[in-house]
Symmetry: C2
Subunit: 425 residues, 2 copies
């Protein structure tokens, strides 16, 4: 390998960053890392920004800073609008073009509204910092509006919070909203009593956290129930409007709906000219390459893969990072002329998974271990702080958590954008 080879990575999430790190400081490889945002986001803690416990800068880090010492990696902020596989080129919205020898697509997923895109306006999803700030503002404004409301019906509407989707994000959001209403806000209002707030978690399946063992689902349900959350399984949402939600045979008046249900791959996947699954993912080959192209790999939330163990690779951060490292190493081997026959297919190494429910309460599966309660929560806290990308965030987040733990306060209770949004209407 004497000639310089170009690797383009689209997406600065866990998959893209892991791949780029693996390729950093290599003499004959030039990497372009493209992202429409300027930061890597620690998505597992995004719900804490949405519920005012952490600030955006606690869980986001400039991509440029991550790679400032890697001179062979160029970070470009831009929106990819097309991929030309015959010309081996990635095309940006602003007209910029980047040619590649190898392409890694790691663009992630976004929420799907099951064929009802019009629901999004009233039921925000939670994928970006902007999403999280919108939800934070909506929740905080609802308390303000309830305090100024004239009728009991209006107050009830503002103090009813509905979370759709009983996966980890839904469970974490419902638990955090319960803490806000029952603890954080209690002394701050004069007319309303935030404790009377209703929190409802809806899932269409038979139980919460369906990827986890049943005993942990039950534990989460019980903990949420104790925190005042009503958990409703087996009911499907049929309609969402500005002030109400219909599910099963019920209708509930609410100004606050959070959408944590279905996922689908980012729209860019349609540009690869490959068949997509129902959730817009690509079924990649065992080495993450797309069906008819050895130079294009897709990793992370936007693909579907059964690994060498015969298990579906889950759409979570550690799996994306492992895939990124795997693909980067594979590309290096091929650049060095190693035969494909010697390659091993990807095997996902399951180090465990966990979800938090509230203060001192979580569930975790680590190998054969099933943890609940305080112990699971401590494990969850340590692991999440540890994987935050830099030392500064680790300390800042630990401090924020300790502060909240002992005081029940939340530092980021700010409504910042109210006037601007009104002006734009």
């Amino acid at each position: 390998m004497s000639q310089i080879k170009k690797v383009v990575i689209i997406g600065g999430g866990f998959g893209g960053v892991a791949a780029a790190k693996q390729l950093s400081d290599l003499p004959n490889v030039k990497v372009v890392l493209l992202d429409k945002r300027n930061h890597h986001l620690f998505q597992p803690l995004l719900y804490q920004v949405a519920t005012a416990a952490l600030s955006p800068s606690d869980i986001a880090y400039p991509l440029r800073s991550i790679f400032s010492k890697s001179s062979n990696i160029r970070v470009v902020m831009g929106n990819v609008c097309d991929i030309d596989r015959s010309a081996k080129e990635v095309i940006l919205e602003d007209g910029g073009k980047f040619s590649y020898d190898y392409l890694i697509v790691a663009v992630g997923a976004r929420h799907s509204y099951f064929g009802h895109p019009e629901w999004e306006e009233h039921a925000f999803g939670l994928k970006t910092l902007n999403d999280a700030l919108r939800i934070r503002e909506k929740i905080l404004l609802s308390f303000e509006k309830a305090e100024r409301a004239e009728t009991p019906e209006e107050i009830a509407k503002y103090l009813t919070f509905v979370v759709v989707g009983g996966g980890p994000t839904g469970v974490e959001m419902a638990g955090a909203i319960a803490e806000i209403t029952k603890k954080t806000m209690v002394e701050d209002f004069r007319k309303i009593n935030p404790k009377v707030a209703k929190i409802i978690l809806i899932d269409s399946g038979s139980r919460l956290l369906s990827q986890y063992p049943e005993v942990l689902s039950e534990h989460a349900r019980r903990d949420l129930h104790q925190m005042g959350v009503r958990v409703t399984c087996g009911k499907t949402v049929t309609d969402i409007q500005a002030d109400r939600i219909y599910f099963g045979d019920e209708m509930i008046m609410t100004a606050n709906i959070v959408w944590a249900a279905g996922n689908e791959a980012a729209p860019l996947m349609t540009k690869l000219g490959v068949e997509l699954t129902r959730s817009k993912q690509i079924k990649v080959r065992p080495d993450f390459s797309i069906p008819d192209d050895d130079h294009v790999f897709c990793i992370g939330d936007c693909v579907s893969l059964m690994d060498a163990n015969g298990k579906t690779v889950p759409g979570i951060a550690p799996a994306a990072a492992q895939a990124g490292r795997y693909v980067a190493k594979l590309i290096l081997k091929r650049l060095h002329g190693q035969p494909k026959s010697g390659e091993r297919p990807f095997k996902y190494m399951d180090k465990g998974s966990m979800a938090t429910i509230g203060r001192a309460s979580a569930i975790a599966v680590i190998g054969p271990l099933k943890l609940t309660g305080l112990l699971a929560w401590l494990a969850w806290s340590l692991i999440h702080v540890w994987f935050l990308i830099d030392f500064r965030s680790r300390v800042a987040v630990m401090f924020s958590w300790m502060w909240s733990f002992f005081t029940h306060h939340r530092a980021a209770r700010l409504i910042i954008y109210v006037r601007k949004r009104t002006a734009n209407k």
Copy 2:
């Protein structure tokens, strides 16, 4: 005083919060504190949010939390649109009305564009968290655009930063932008060299920081010069467009203009039916009451007053807080039936003033003392951290500062709202 009396305070800045604190926990006084935002803002550090050193939650605190233990104080988030002095009522945009026995107006100031409101679109001011985030995003995006630009002219346009106004805010902004370009960003780009950025500070007066002794102005000019800032005094801005600014006999192409020049009182002052000065302030009587009404007081940035020492009360945070306490005590005395003849007029107690220029560089006047350099900077840091409103912010800010001091990094380098703004266009 047996009957319950109502005090309405408009504005949760330094003046309004100080007045409300003075009136808290009193049996026969009910206070309504009105603000269009939900937080008190530590404005002296706002420029640090605009330059990505601090997060919004480091310098803002929910008004409700400040008064959560004061049961006689009700915080209301709402936009006051009118004041009916004959009915003794304050009227909100949403139709809400609050009647008062005494009214304290502490609505602050905003930027004035010297009769050119059209300049605002291209030259953001710095008064709110929203302003600060807009400036932060514009500065960070300019580096990204420069990295993607094709021509040297375009790169120069994005890497030229112009600050209009040589008061403390302008000096602090220019110094902080210089640090970003010369230190923070240096290793992060591949095509451009952020060090070549031009920073220009324009003031129409004969020197920077005109309220300070001349020797300190000169010191600030020299420090800024050493940091690479071009300081231009005695030149007036004549036009601002999207990509250029005209001042004196010069025209400079730039995509980044920050407005830190003239101030005028908030628009609500026109609703009091009292004559206003050229900068829309009210000339209050020595007890801060408005000329023909003993029940309405105006304090802070929105008024003009010569105090009992014959000195103009400055428009800074400590003066507003002193005025708030003074007026609150005065109202209490009157409620207790003490004769007006026994009242003392307001005297501003000058505890010193200071402005920071950059890392380890500031100027300060404390009584007869004039400080510069590291000593002034340490004094500035300690005092500003001390006056941050709660313990949590104090620790968080100190930590952020120590981190930046040693690493030159800035934690809050986030461009969050890009997509939304584009979508709204």
